[in-house]
Amino acid sequence: MRTKLIFALFLFSFTSLSAQIVPVCISEKYSNCYNDNQKWNTLLDKACEQLKLKKFPEAYKTLTEALIIDSVSSNGNVNAYIEVQHRRLRNYLKDLSQNANGEETNQEVAQPKAKVINVEESKPIENSVAANIEVKKVEETPTVEIKENIEPKETIIPVVEVKVDSIVSISQVEGTKTKIGDDEIKFTENDKFQFQEKGMQKVKQLESFVFQIGSKSTVQSLAMQSIAGAVKLFDNEERTVQVSSISSSEKRKSKIRAYLNKLRMLNYEDVKIEWADFQYASDFIKGRDGNYYGYIVFQQRFTATSIDKQKVYSDLTTKKIEVILKIYEKAEQGKITENWDIFLGDISVVQTSN
């Protein structure tokens, strides 16, 4: 019975991996994203048209350009719906390219299938951890999906609190907390969720920018725009990125803009930077300056290739990035309201392996 279940699980995983959802454009949803920037609106129309014609790489490029423009003009608060479409398109293109390059995915799928047969034949290992791992090998790398219905520009919720908890727990479900006394209001679960989502969104935006900057196929003007967009995600330009390499125990630090410029100038034919396995590692903790601080941990896979497409350098690092929640006052129609935004801080590297 258990074996059948494992086999069914395996089949499910196989099916879900194979069935790629073809990206489409729902014109109405795209037009709902229009704003005052004419170039942005034009790019959305163009991307939509390209999607309808199934020109996926072109549509991806157009959406990338649109997001960079949006990011630069909005201090990193890009339109969430378009960002999700952009990410989906990117994943779709990635899957397509993997399937085209030596059927790598199918090979991975075929392997556990054989293992499942072994499990059926050999009952004693049915309950072993190893058996479970082999079956689930086909699962995709889990990533935190940004919910499609989040519209950050509209949902920047004014924080009405005057005094809040010094630690905002984001992983504990404690229910909604409300007013304590006359002037003390704690963050609600919804607030915490919003902070968490927004922080993750900004880190993923940074990932997109870093990918664009590193890729040699990105035209120079777009790379420069990406650098500008990436820098705006941080609370100030003094923020640093720590880097390491396999050959040295020394960890060097560069200011964010200098780091991105160096990344662009790397002397390889192509550079591929993938970030994965994002997770919040801490609660948001109030600092001396009244801002709240948390951090996200993720893995970076770096691959550099030479002209003949040979891999010349690759490493795997664990990175940690500081996430800062700033609460600020804003005057709107004669009223002062308190708003919040999330910025990125310093980035550290934990370990490097080849």
Binding site: K137, T141, R288, D289
Partner: protein
Amino acid sequence: MKFVIHFVLVFFVFQNNCYSQQSKAELTKKFAITIKSVDDFFDRFNFKEKTNFRNFLITEFPDNNITREKLLYTLFNAKSKYCSDIDKKDFVNEVIKESYPQYINYKDTNWYAALNCSVLLNGKPEKLLLVLNVESKINDGFEWSITAAHSSFLDGSLGEIDATLFSEFKNKNILSDEKKYFLSPISHGIDFTNLDNIFTNKNHFKNYISKDIASSELIKLNNLITNSKIKFRQVESISYHLLQIDGWVLVLNHIENKDYANGWLVNQLIKTTENEKRIYKQKSLHIKLQ
């Protein structure tokens, strides 16, 4: 115990030096198992629910009855000679005692980060130990503050003139326009990569010191920084010293094992009395108790 064995099994599966030969799913699992931060350690120690790690366990090992006791055993460096099996058993039994279960928390006052730093003193490489702890000074906010400094170049007593600085240090007052000179409360999360700020913001060293703390070493370090005689290079290694569990001191190090658990693990487990803890603070952490 079965659970521990399973963990070892998992690591045998992942035993592979070259990441490029491992699938993304394998890398993701290895990443999930690694104790990536002190916060992650705290969560596992406290058996906190709904964490990434607990969710991972439920998904990967649905048939295992995971208890706090079993999880606690996985927090030790299996290869450490400073954690005996007898001590581990005693420790776990005490921590999970039904009548008095013990937990650890970020806000606890009795835990410290010891940073082994490399610096340049008048252009010459030197080692410097900085001990920091979490505290709340103003604005209900938290921060990491320096509690002690130790190095051969900080030895010796203060001169008469410097001695007047002692009371100034002890009664330091943080002005509101100095709110920005502090180490972020999650500096441990980014492995204190921001520590060089202390050396860069030369005239604000006092802002980074624990309240009510003054020592000749800290005053000397202050003088070296303000006179630009010392230059920070990098944090070479970090250890965390947890003194908040009754009768025990835990020392965490970042451990890279190929076939066992990885990350922030208990590398030393020391059975102590409260008085011994006091001595530990003075001798091992070089904290000048006031």
